[in-house]
């Protein structure tokens, strides 16, 4: 959903069972033939209720996706975090230029002189440098490339 602007809509209401489901599933689904039944049992829900609630959470936009979380580097791809210092008057033009690259994900405006932060995910590690050069050419701005050197594992990604 490129170019998506986040609206100021009301937050979704989650009840206690929804919260337990979201928190439990952030830790991952067991790799067994009937994974939903296994998780439902842990949460003292029926399998049908768990599936119904998951469907509703996906449809309501609380969850954007359910399934495998990939490790792009191990799939042979490149991944990095990059930042730009964008002059205020030029912000909209630079957003459009940067978001036009299919390799760009998670583009956020942040409070700092480096005010645009985005993730680059490419098919090969070498492509990262090429895309950065292309973004610099398209925007006329220097890209700060801040590749990951080590990941420290958190257990629960976003407790709700």
């Amino acid at each position: 959903m490129s170019g998506e602007r986040v609206s100021r809509s009301e937050p979704a209401e989650l009840d206690d069972a929804d919260r337990r489901i979201v928190n439990r599933l952030q830790a991952g689904l067991p790799l067994v033939p009937s994974p939903y039944a296994a998780v439902a049992a842990e949460l003292s829900l029926s399998e049908g209720e768990l599936l119904y609630r998951l469907e509703r959470l996906l449809e309501g936009g609380v969850l954007s996706r359910f399934g495998p979380m990939y490790h792009p580097e191990r799939l042979g791809g490149g991944l990095t975090l990059a930042a730009l210092a964008v002059p205020e008057a030029d912000f909209e033009r630079v957003v459009a230029a940067v978001n036009a690259f299919p390799e760009v994900a998670h583009n956020y405006r942040r409070e700092h002189r480096l005010n645009m932060w985005f993730v680059l995910a490419t098919e090969t590690p070498e492509r990262i440098g090429e895309v950065i050069a292309a973004i610099e050419a398209a925007t006329g701005l220097a890209v700060f490339n801040l590749p990951k050197q080590e990941e420290f594992h958190v257990r629960l990604h976003l407790p709700v």
């Binding site: 959903m1 994974p35 993730v119």
Partner: protein
């Protein structure tokens, strides 16, 4: 959600390739999701489970989980907190910060001095800025980080939240 672009070509039988492509769209919400996928790629349920287990073991798939849309839950404040830690202590502090419940992601990243001297990044989410800053204060106190240079970069707006070829976690 749009379908992802083609997966990279990897050597191997067609079944596993098709399975990878199907998994990109997410796991079916049905009692026997692996069986449903198996039928679509000409494999047995056992073979599908064995392939996914292999990909998890090799680290291609981190886990079978879900992506929460923060904003839909009223989690409006998202702070990227960056620290300039001595190289000899950054790994230890990274592990300690990752264990903090308020920290949702934690990475060591390359410095870009002089403009960007920070080498440890963590994300803290919350309903409001004050909550995020209060959580940060506690973390600073608990780990004796008062003297460590840091910056808090709140997000002002999301211009793109999906994209890229794979589903991966938000990166800071």
């Amino acid at each position: 959600m749009s379908l992802p672009a083609a997966l990279p070509t990897i050597p191997g039988p067609a079944g596993p390739q098709r399975l990878r492509a199907l998994l990109e769209r997410g796991l079916p919400l049905t009692e026997r999701p692996w069986q449903a996928l198996a039928e679509q790629c000409g494999m047995s349920e056992g073979e599908v489970l064995a392939w996914v287990e292999c990909w998890q073991r090799e680290g291609l798939i981190k886990r079978l989980g879900l992506v929460v849309r923060h904003h839909a839950l009223g989690i409006r404040a998202n702070a990227m907190v960056v620290w300039d830690l001595p190289d000899e202590s950054v790994a230890e502090m990274g592990r300690r910060l990752a264990a903090e419940p308020a920290v949702t992601l934690c990475y060591r990243r390359r410095r870009q001095p002089p403009e960007w001297p920070y080498n440890l990044f963590c994300m803290i989410h919350g309903s409001r800025r004050e909550r995020v800053l209060a959580a940060l204060d506690e973390i600073v106190g608990r780990h004796g980080l008062q003297g460590i240079p840091r910056r808090v970069l709140f997000s002002l707006k999301a211009y793109k939240q999906c994209g890229g070829r794979y589903t991966h976690e938000e990166q800071p």
